[in-house]
């Protein structure tokens, strides 16, 4: 049994073990993309590189056999840099968005494509759950939002954007009308108390998410009614009072302690709150500026001064968000702030270090050419955009078809593998910069339309796994590399389809694909 040490941890391993096997035994996680147990290591991705101390050489751990006395470095800056460069090189040739452009356009980073998929399948419950994960007041925003998501929608450059906002409103309205309105699960009482000054979009949203984490919330409003600027800024035509009240009610009913007509306009009142609560959140809107002195808080040009990443003021237990820190801002920005500050407060209350949600890693497609747009359009329905039927007529049969059609206009820009993609996950872990070697050059294309299996060559990292798996069956045509060098790609012999290439083994191939290059067409029968 040869002995090997990795990062100075020593272990005996059976003959013929690889460095990767040994690392697994030691609990050292080495990233791999092209390796799958049971198949020949193709040593293609070079992301599993480790350094052999004696020679100083980098070698792929998946195929390097252990020799007695071998000493390996895995978790060192040099090795990490090599892995990062391999990832960056792969990303420089990667054609696709991990996350759809609308995700980044929406200040609340709602999972819009997921909501649309759910709506297209008439899964209203799923849709409202998806929406409310990130937006506490969708029925309200569905009426007054300036729709940055639709401006970011890729389809807007072909014909019209998907009517995300209307569809969201539809889902929220349907929910409010339902016998059992959606209510999120709230965690058991944490014993922590949060005072929220101001019941506008930020304060309401913060309360909604803090309650779900089990923290007691006292919502303190200076005026008679909850809603803050939602109540006086939009005209009642576009935002009917009933809708406003109904949605606020959905938040209050999560056991939020409401105190109206209670201005916190003195130092004493503020200090009392701070004294009696674990955290004070200032969500008092633009008025907060005027009270900063009373509360002895610093201000910036726009509003109260906070640490960008944590929403914390100079007093660690005092947070501020929304218009209170930004001055004038979009309603959806305020709502998004409420969600984010709730996360930060939760971290603070749980004794963790406080950080706003990290910007997710993503590969970006950027602008698409006309031909590429055709590829996208081929995967979506071609109906034109249509104003949804009025709320009063929601019950009519046509509506659900309409909702489904309009949702299906989505080009599904995001990657099917998002969250499960190993390239994405390791890139995030190793801090890979997708643009280090310039912006993308490859063309976006989807092959195999009309069949069950779709293939996006631009996302393929040439790991060879599908080729090896497809070769296990004599029934199917099989897959092969076509061409060589930079232009090599995975193809089907004799012009066959990807379905014919993999046959019964398609599922296995797809499961093995380390990225989102190979997948079942979600729209196929």
């Amino acid at each position: 049994m040869p002995t090997i040490s990795i990062d100075d941890q020593t272990i005996d391993v059976p003959e013929d073990s690889t460095v990767l096997d040994a690392a697994n035994r030691l609990g050292i996680e080495i990233p791999t993309l092209c390796f799958l147990k049971g198949y020949l290591p193709s040593t293609s991705c070079q992301v599993c590189l480790v350094r052999e101390r004696e020679s100083g050489k980098l070698m792929p751990s998946c195929a390097t056999k252990v020799t007695d006395g071998m000493q390996i470095d895995s978790e060192t800056p040099e090795v990490h840099a090599a892995r990062r460069t391999a990832l960056e090189l792969l990303l420089s040739d990667h054609v696709g968005d991990c996350l759809a452009p609308c995700f980044f356009a929406c200040p609340a980073h709602m999972d819009i494509p997921l909501m649309l998929r759910q709506l297209s399948k008439e899964n209203l419950h799923g849709a409202i759950e998806t929406i409310k994960k990130d937006i506490a007041i969708p029925a309200i925003l569905g009426r007054i939002c300036t729709k940055p998501c639709e401006k970011g929608c890729r389809r807007s450059s072909a014909d019209d954007p998907v009517s995300v906002c209307e569809l969201k409103r539809y889902a929220a309205d349907q929910d409010l009308d339902a016998e059992q309105v959606y209510a999120p699960e709230c965690a058991a009482d944490s014993g922590k108390r949060v005072a929220i000054i101001g019941a506008g979009p930020t304060g309401l949203s913060a309360a909604y998410y803090l309650r779900q984490r089990g923290h007691a919330c006292r919502l303190i409003e200076a005026t008679k009614q909850l809603g803050g600027r939602l109540r006086h800024e939009p005209d009642p035509e576009s935002l009917p009072r009933e809708t406003l009240d109904a949605e606020i009610q959905q938040i209050v009913r999560l056991d939020v302690d409401v105190q109206t007509e209670t201005p916190v306009d003195s130092r004493e009142a503020f200090e009392n709150l701070a004294e009696s609560h674990d955290v004070v959140l200032i969500a008092a809107g633009a008025d907060a500026m005027n009270l900063a002195d009373e509360w002895s808080l610093k201000t910036s040009r726009r509003g109260l001064e906070i640490a960008r990443e944590t929403y914390q003021t100079e007093r660690a237990n005092v947070f501020a968000a929304g218009s209170a820190v930004r001055g004038k801002c979009l309603f959806v920005r305020s709502a998004a702030d409420g969600k984010e500050v709730a996360q930060c407060i939760d971290q603070y209350l749980s004794g963790k270090s406080v950080a706003a949600p990290a910007k997710p890693f993503t590969s970006r497609l950027g602008r698409v050419a006309t031909d590429e747009m055709k590829q996208f359009l081929a995967g979506a329905v071609s109906v034109p955009v249509q104003i949804l039927t009025k709320q009063e007529e929601y019950s009519s049969d046509q509506v659900s078809d309409q909702v489904s059609d309009q949702s299906n206009r989505c080009l599904s820009c995001g990657c099917v593998a998002h969250g499960n993609c190993r390239l994405e996950n390791y890139s995030a872990r190793y801090g890979a910069d997708p643009n280090r070697f310039g912006s993308r050059q490859g063309n976006y294309e989807v092959l195999g339309r009309g069949g069950n299996v779709l293939f996006e060559p631009g996302k393929c990292i040439k790991c060879e796994l599908c080729i090896q798996i497809a070769a296990e069956s004599r029934e199917s045509l099989g897959l092969s590399f076509v061409g060589r060098g930079f232009d090599v790609r995975v193809g089907v012999p004799f012009g066959g389809s990807y379905d014919e290439a993999m046959g019964e083994l398609a599922e296995k191939c797809i499961a093995a694909c380390p990225t989102g290059a190979l997948y079942f067409d979600p729209k196929a029968e």
């Binding site: 090599a82 090189l89 792969l90 040739d93 294309e445 092959l447 497809a470 590399f481 060098g485 090599v488």
Partner: protein
């Protein structure tokens, strides 16, 4: 299935092929019958099909899958990997344009453009409208001393200029020169009855000699000798190495005096023969004097009648060229007929093999054992200090001993003849000129390792080498030197030839093995090394052509004799292909330890045209540029490595001050990037990104930070790539960055100091112009309006910087200026 667009991008086109091919598939069956039904037959079958149909019709490939064990995915993968294979019909004739290093520095780009212009090709097209010619760039034709070179079908044309292109293409209609060579090769020697008393007339017939017209000279010699009945054997010999002097003819009298004639034209042959040999028989003598008299009567008044001078090997250029050389791998160079087995044996051929076999058979009688013989051979190799001549310089004895040490029923030996470095052609020359020597070396290696089966893997671009090795193997089998019981012993040894199919990467040993096995030529991680697990997972000894060709000499003279040449760590001799900006290019063999300066100045006669010697590119795409200031570096594995180059396989391209070093780096990166197999990320994507940065630099579009990124990328690619190709690909960039960084910086500032990079230069006609309109007449893109008797002007927007105007101007009025 929307695959058409993607497919055509890769040069394959299933739809097109299936509609266009109405092929008679009977041939496919015979190709399969001839080459076998196993997976390893895939490349030979594809080669046969391509030879027959001139491309690979889809229907033929489907038929192959039906008839054999070759799966559709295999045939698709293999047929799209190698550049030799075409998936679309091509024109009647193929024009292969060499992109080797020597050709590159001598303007191959301009030749390619001129051909495209002549054929009227639009961008992206490779075949002319009438389907006559298809233009195909090739990595290297291995005729570096004739650069720039193109090959039309089998005829090679050297020293082209953009102006000579139209005439060359038109003139091609005449019959192909190489077909004649084929006949020359197979034709029995024109030997007179009494072999002892007559002299010889030797004509070098290597591929490049033929390209220079040696074939015509040879034919003429035969005609003259038979018509006048001269007492001389006409003998084809291999490459003489003096490529700068070809066609070369040597006469050897029966008393041994020899005379060497350079640059011989067919018209001079008769005179040369008559100067050295008496016509025999009254009739012939009378005919001869009659024709001489007639010739004297009618013209030749401009002195062409004067005696053709022989050159002396004792002094002058030939002496300088040959002086410092020592011939071991190329022993008897220019003396022997490559395919004459008897003659090879008369020159001590197969003495070493016999010696090894005698020891082996004595083993059977108990005096010594076969075990010891193998050991003894390897001991001798070890004493000689022989290191692999393919590039890396691994000690041969260690390799041999490893294979020998593995217990296995089957072992293989492979001769790596996939010489792919652009700018290197010594292996081609050795295979063409000394096929028996390489066979003998390989047989000895096989005995030492305990192998009974061997393969020559020779690149497809070397048809003459393939043909001669095949012929030589057959001769050896007939003579009992190869076969079931060689030289009467019970040792069986079988050799065969596998042709490459156009993939530089197959020079890498694990890729080469995959290729012989019938796969895509992708390398794999070593260890295990082929010595332990190689061809079909059996222990396999792989040596380069030159390495094997040294073996017989070492065993005949002893390892110590070999080790007397060279330096501390680099023993013996090394063959180099000396080309580029040099007076006397050619194939040279020098003892290790001579300096680069000796090679360039003494052997090569320095840089021509009064230009300044700038650098030598050594080691091809894996090597580096050694600047003139370091020209005293000796030829030695370690010394060359220390200055950023490598010994490599032996390409040595001399560069002068008109060569742009950034352009050279880009040239090599283009090559490696194009030849990358695409398996590992660092090489597949990394070399592409490096090339993009270099392209930007050459276009003057790069920024300072691009240099930093380029350098980082060089180090990443060399440490992270899987095989030698990727690991060494950054070397040409790193070495030029090390010695010529100022040139990179100048490009970033929009200036190409050598005046080479087209985007940074412009052509300007100064006031020395006499208005002769020559430039205007020759300009292929009408960028110079003809205005007789006044100063001409170049339209910079139209100008393609083809350099023609500068070359044709009689007044040197055309200058290259900064754009």
């Amino acid at each position: 299935m929307n695959e058409t667009t993607s497919e055509s991008r890769n040069g394959t086109c299933d739809d097109l092929a299936s509609t266009q091919c109405d092929v008679d598939l009977a041939f496919v069956e015979s190709a399969v019958t001839q080459n076998g039904r196993g997976v390893e037959a895939v490349i030979p079958i594809l080669q046969a099909i391509q030879t027959e149909y001139r491309y690979l019709p889809d229907a033929a490939l489907r038929r192959v899958c039906e008839l054999t064990q070759i799966a559709p995915s295999t045939i698709k993968g293999v047929s799209t990997f190698y550049t030799q294979f075409r998936h679309r019909p091509m024109g009647k004739h193929a024009i292969q344009v060499c992109r080797g290093t020597a050709c590159h520095v001598k303007g191959a780009d301009l030749i390619e453009e001129a051909i495209a212009l002549h054929l009227g090709l639009k961008p992206g097209e490779d075949t002319d409208g009438r389907g006559q010619f298809t233009i195909e760039p090739v990595a290297c034709l291995g005729c570096c001393t004739l650069a720039p070179v193109v090959q039309i079908d089998e005829a090679t044309y050297g020293r082209l200029t953009p102006q000579s292109v139209p005439a060359t293409v038109r003139g091609f209609a005449r019959q192909s020169a190489e077909q004649k060579t084929a006949r020359r090769d197979l034709r029995n020697r024109n030997r007179s009855a009494n072999a002892v008393s007559v002299g010889e007339i030797r004509v070098g017939l290597g591929s490049c000699c033929v390209a220079q017209g040696s074939g015509h000279v040879f034919d003429k010699v035969q005609d003259v000798v038979s018509s006048i009945g001269a007492a001389a054997d006409v003998k084809r010999v291999g490459c003489v190495g003096m490529c700068h002097q070809t066609p070369l003819l040597e006469t050897v009298q029966s008393d041994g005096t020899s005379r060497l004639y350079c640059h011989v034209q067919a018209e001079q042959v008769e005179q040369i023969v008559l100067q050295n040999f008496q016509p025999s028989g009254l009739g012939a003598r009378m005919r001869t004097s009659w024709s001489k008299w007639v010739a004297g009567l009618y013209g030749r008044e401009n002195g062409a009648d004067a005696l053709v001078e022989a050159v002396s090997p004792q002094e002058g250029p030939v002496c300088e060229f040959l002086g410092p050389q020592k011939r071991i791998a190329t022993e008897s160079c220019g003396d022997i007929d490559p395919l004459d087995l008897d003659e090879y044996r008369r020159h001590d051929g197969f003495v070493a093999l016999k010696q090894c076999l005698n020891d082996l058979s004595r083993g059977a009688t108990g005096e010594t054992t076969g075990e010891i013989t193998g050991e003894a051979i390897i001991d001798e190799i070890e004493k000689s200090g022989l290191r692999g001549r393919g590039g890396a310089g691994f000690p041969s004895a260690i390799k041999w001993r490893t294979v020998r040490g593995v217990t296995a029923e089957t072992k293989y030996v492979i001769c790596n003849g996939d010489e792919g470095d652009p700018g290197a052609f010594m292996d081609r020359m050795i295979l063409e000129s000394f096929p028996y020597r390489v066979i003998e070396g390989m047989a000895i290696a096989a005995i030492a390792a305990g192998a009974h089966q061997g393969y020559f893997y020779i690149r497809a671009e070397y048809p003459l080498a393939v043909q001669r090795i095949r012929h030589a193997i057959a001769e050896c089998e007939a003579a009992g030197l190869l076969g079931d019981s060689i030289l009467g012993t019970d040792y069986s040894l079988h050799f065969s030839v596998k042709e490459g199919a156009g993939a530089f990467i197959c020079g890498e040993e694990t890729a080469l093995i995959h290729s012989i096995e019938g796969g895509r030529g992708t390398p794999r991680l070593r260890p295990p090394f082929p010595a332990e697990s190689g061809l079909w997972e059996k222990p396999t000894l792989i040596n380069n052509v030159e390495t094997l060709s040294l073996v017989p000499w070492i065993l005949r003279h002893g390892g110590d004799a070999f080790a007397k040449f060279g330096t501390e760590t680099s023993k013996g001799t090394k063959v180099f292909a000396l080309a580029g900006k040099i007076q006397r290019g050619g194939l040279i063999e020098v003892p290790m330890g001579v300096t680069i300066r000796q090679i360039v100045d003494q052997i090569g006669g320095g840089v021509p045209n009064g230009r300044r010697f700038k650098a030598v590119q050594i080691g091809g795409p894996s090597g580096g540029c050694v600047p003139a200031s370091l020209a005293d570096t000796p030829v030695d594995y370690e010394a060359l490595r220390d200055v950023g180059a490598i010994m490599g396989s032996g390409g040595m391209v001399v560069l002068d001050d008109s060569d742009c070093m950034v352009d050279i780096a880009r040239y090599f990166l283009r090559f490696t990037q194009d030849q990358s197999c695409g398996k590992c990320t660092y090489c597949r994507v990394g070399t592409k990104r490096m090339l993009e940065i270099l392209e930007r630099i050459c276009k003057g579009q790069a920024k300072k930070k691009d240099l930093v990124l380029l350098e980082e990328l060089c180090h990443s690619v060399s440490s992270g790539s899987l095989c030698g190709l990727g690991k060494t690909a950054p070397n040409p960039v790193l070495s030029t960055l090390q010695y010529f960084r100022d040139e990179y910086e100048a490009h970033i500032n929009g200036h190409c100091p050598a005046g080479k990079c087209k985007d940074l230069i412009a052509y300007h006609i100064n006031d020395s112009c006499i208005g002769c309109t020559l430039c205007a007449q020759h300009c292929p893109v009408d960028a110079i309006p003809a205005v007789p008797y006044s100063q001409h002007v170049v339209d910079v927007d139209r100008c393609t910087a083809c350099d023609t105007c500068r070359v044709v101007c009689p007044e040197n009025a055309v200058e290259v200026v900064r754009r």
